[in-house]
Amino acid sequence: MPEAGAPLVALDGVEKSFGAVRALGGVSARISAGECVGIVGHNGAGKSTLMHVLSGGVRADAGGLTISGETQDAYSAARAKALGIRCVFQELSLCPNLTVAENARVFHPAIHGFHWRRRAGDLIGRKLDEIFPGHGIAANARVQDLSIGRRQMVEIARAFTVTDAPARLIILDEPTSSLDEDTSAQLLAYVRSSVAQGAACVLITHILGEVLRACDRILVMRDGRVTVEDSAANFTRDRLVGAMGGVEARASAEALTHAASEAPIRVRIRPQKQKDARELVAREGEIVGLAGLAGHGQTDLLLATFDGRGIVGAPVALVAGDRQSDGVFPHWSISRNIGVRSLKKLKAGGLISARLEAALANSWRERIKIRTPDINQPILSLSGGNQQKALFARALGSDAKIVLMDDPMRGVDYATKLEVYALVREEARSGRTFLWYTTETEELKTCDRAYVFRDGAIVAELGPDELTEERLIHASFAGAH
């Protein structure tokens, strides 16, 4: 039965920054037993960070967390689990080589001894039956043999299973991303019934119809804060979109007719999941944006372009967004990191010339203003923003005429961003083509045009006058559901 009075979870003024980026700028929220709270927001709103704080994966810089009236000082993932907080994030945490039942056992140390397999199988099987009737998943099926949708079902069901400790709060982060319509409906129905029996639930989803149907209250987040909080009954789709920053009225999404550039086409590529005839076209000297919710196929398209699929008429370079995993060579100097894409042209007499390499690095140091006394310093001596600048220098210093940018300005300080935007505009004017995937609406203003992505396909093309946050958010969230 839902308790009257004290909420289950109370967040007070929670702040979290990652370097120069403020992910949460003072968030306060209450979640009570017996209710489902929805959280919606565009890129960078802070939804995932908030959930990581709540589930113990990330420690907040400031602010308080109270669970069942107890202030949590030494909070951790283990503590969260002990207090009955479960979460299903987008990165699935199943062991693919184990069966469904064995994965249930991994989650519940309490299941051991004789017939543990049967007990674990029954536990997860019953829960799957409860949530997804007719699921057709065998408890002894190996997870890696299941489709991604079924894996998601298993992960969700597992989060609701109970052995020794009760499951009091279940956090679902984009749980329906791999589920079809019927299965999604089943999940939402189960959330409602679970909540009616006293559990608390947090639902993060970009599908507005879902959040309106399944939630009691909705928090709209934007730029690390909660902007609007109200009961779900008081929200409509338009009000939600408006609260996130989009236009309230429906705008037409017809194909634009503006004075098209006559410059030669450099890139022509269609996303793999595109069902209609739309494709991405980029010409010489253009800065074309790839927008929409993060992770909806933009990076895939950039990589496809890098690999040469579609029509790609000039050398290509890529500026990585995830510096650590895709960009920086940690043992090298700044100079070497910049020069690595241009090795052939740095040769003098068969060997790479230190002089030419230094000249290249120094010229870019000045041009892009990398703050360092010496380009032979290790790259890790630079701040994050300056490291990103070095990665830019690497791409721009090469012979590439097409530069792909994989959301490279994420987490970079504002001053650096301005310097880079100016440089991109300058380079475009001299004929380079930029394909710029960005999750920050501000950056779209630097683009000539933008394509909005959703679920792996292009859903809209925004012309030069339409590169506003309102239109972008509207296009990102448009759709039947």
């Binding site: 283990a78 689990k81 945490s93 199943l94 062991c95 080589n97 064995e102 994965n103 991994v106 397999r117």
Partner: protein
Amino acid sequence: MTDLRATLRALLPALSFALVLAAIAALNPRVISYFGFTLMLNYAVPIALATLAQMFVMTANDIDLSIGAFVGFVTCVAATWLHDDPLFGAAALAACVALYAGLGALIYWRNLPSIVVTLGMGFVWQGLAVLLLPKPGGKAPDWLQAIMGFKPPYVPLPILAALLIAAVAYVGLMRTSYGAILRGAGGNSVAIRRAGWSMLKVKASLFALTGCFGVLAGLALVGVTRSADANIGNGYTLLSIAGVILGGGEFVGGIVSPVGAVIGALTLTLASTQLLGFLRIPPDWQVGANGAILVLVLAARVLLGRGKAQ
């Protein structure tokens, strides 16, 4: 078509065994007898145990390049200390298992590559073995010889032993609740850690199991050969890896099969010792044939769609 491939993949160990056996039978029908099997497969037991030892570390994406040297060392310990002073010998072997467990913990704690560590340990074991027994010799304990020379009715000892070993390993790794955790660590160690399990314990346990089965392999081997030799186990490293792979195991991902590994070990024993002799492959080439067999097995797996990009 994919179903057929998947079935073939799963049956690869058993099919290979049947194939090799059929070839041997065709070349020399007289070996299909109680005596023949006992003779052909007398090295199968130590090889199977060594293969299982390798399988345990491969469960969590490691590899043991020292298993061959370790088996050789154990035979030396068995033929000297264990024979002369059983309590001391047993304590020494127990200490070896503890050392293996410690290595596993060290590898996890310092995040070391098991290739290099076990390569180094291989030379440690070899050095210790040579110090203990500079020339082949010693005498295996009587009770070990008796066990390995035991002649059960109807079923040849190696086959009986293989069944027993496979059953124990299967139950231990595939049926127990902690076995699921051990295997899960190979599939997604982050998930295992997040669920609250200690990865340190997992690694130490797997390496301890390897040490344990390595000891058993050495004991079985010396029971068969009756005397010890520091270098006798040198081929076991490659054979054990080949056996795990032939049995359906993978290098990464926590996908291993104890039953398959034992069948694989039997197949390789037959192929590398008997088949080559019957095919009149000169002794010079027998060493190479082991390598070729492994390559063939891996090629077959790629063809059947199992190969992963490296």
